[in-house]
């Protein structure tokens, strides 16, 4: 018999994955093959990011490699959560030294979100991603290239503290530090935000 796990927060996105429901997120080491995306940082394709001051971002850029991973991640996530999805949008961001992602929840288009680390300089910077779980606990996750966090972006607050080279014991010069992350967003095909599919509303 099919089991549907009810969220502890109520009025929330509900999937068929118990761990995802109990925590509001799951850490997926080595989830995505990002080898085709490493180095795809032509700065002229980026623009200033409004959410993270002094970082750079690209919204749903026309690149087959990114589109292919967007689709393949969708299929893998559908298997994990046992629910069909619609793609909404994706973007990538380059963080630099002292950039901060302020605590926030995402819009409805980010009902099911995947944050994937592409690369960093120096390699394997241990810069935590924080999320408030369904149990109301603040959890931190450190990602290496290809690692991902699957989370309910619209329901759970998430953030990153400033990328401070001193605190993170990074010896590289500040101006050479970068951290490249990509965000894939989806909505449940049978959910209350299905009409955000393809970010049509935007």
């Amino acid at each position: 018999m099919e089991v549907v796990y009810k969220s502890t927060l109520g009025n929330e996105t509900v999937t068929k994955n118990q761990i995802f429901e109990e925590n509001g997120f799951v850490f997926l080491p080595g989830f995505a093959d990002v080898s085709n995306l490493v180095g795809q940082c032509q700065l002229e394709t980026f623009r200033d990011d409004e959410q993270v001051k002094k970082s750079l971002t690209r919204y749903r850029h026309d690149d087959k490699n990114f589109e292919a991973i967007f689709e393949s991640c969708k299929q893998k996530i559908e298997q994990i959560i046992g629910c069909k999805l619609y793609k909404t949008y994706f973007f990538d961001r380059i963080y630099y030294a002292y950039n901060e992602l302020v605590k926030h929840k995402d819009r409805e288009s980010c009902e099911i979100s995947l944050s994937v680390n592409i690369s960093s300089n120096p390699k394997n910077i241990e810069w935590p991603f924080y999320i408030t779980s369904a149990k109301n606990e603040d959890c931190s996750i450190i990602m290496k290239p290809g690692d991902a966090v699957l989370y309910k972006g619209h329901n759970h607050a998430h953030w990153r503290e400033p990328l401070d080279p001193n605190k993170l014991m990074i010896k590289e010069k500040s101006e050479n530090i970068m951290y490249h992350q990509i965000f894939f967003h989806y909505v449940l095909a049978n959910g209350k935000w299905a009409h955000y599919a393809n970010d049509f509303i935007n």
């Binding site: 959910g191 209350k192 299905a194 009409h195 393809n198 049509f200």
Partner: protein
């Protein structure tokens, strides 16, 4: 730029939705569409006038078309159950419209008289807007999404929320994906007006 699809999340109370369902299901056998299990509802009933407010608003705020009424002054109540679907279609295209006779051609003897031609040209109506009203909430069924394409080929999905009123330009393609679980209950209709000129 005007939009090909407009929707309203009416936040319809569940009690009102139940009233609407009771009203639809309480219709007598004579109100059944003989070609299907659909139930016909009068456009001048309280239900029709509730929906007409949103049609009028969408038209005033977005489409700005010359509209007359619901087609046949009526709407229909439909239930989609397991595996039922509606493949990609458009509610109105030019192929079904009246084609005037070509003056001087050999087929003139089989064509309408000038009087009939004048009459048809000036009274023919076309479907201009297609209306769908959600009487099930998003979690009462699985599948059954109303998907559409705009004129540029971009795909969208209509809301599944109870009480959503979705108004599409009748010329854009749409489909309803197969129902995988539960029953999707909707009221739908077309709104017609004079042929495009």
């Amino acid at each position: 730029m005007a939009l090909p699809v407009v929707w309203y999340e009416t936040k319809l109370p569940k009690a009102v939705a139940r009233e609407m369902l009771d009203f639809c299901k309480g219709k007598s056998a004579k109100d059944k569409d003989l070609s299907s299990d659909d139930i016909i509802i009068s456009g001048i009933s309280w239900l029709g006038s509730f929906i007409w407010y949103y049609v009028n608003k969408a038209n005033k705020d977005n489409f700005c078309y010359d509209l007359q009424d619901f087609e046949n002054s009526s709407l229909k109540y439909t239930e989609y159950s397991l595996d039922e679907t509606k493949s990609w279609c458009v509610d109105q295209d030019v192929s079904t419209l009246y084609k005037p006779p070509v003056l001087g051609s050999d087929v003139m003897h089989n064509t309408p008289t000038l009087y009939e031609d004048f009459l048809i040209k000036n009274t023919e109506t076309v479907r201009k807007l297609s209306v769908h009203v959600q009487l099930s909430d998003y979690d009462e069924y699985e599948g059954g999404n109303l998907e559409f394409e705009n004129f540029l080929g971009d795909k969208g999905v209509a809301p599944r929320l109870l009480g959503s009123i979705i108004i599409l330009d009748s010329r854009i393609p749409y489909q309803i994906t197969p129902i995988e679980k539960g029953i999707k209950k909707t009221i739908s209709s077309w709104v017609h007006g004079p042929r495009w000129k």
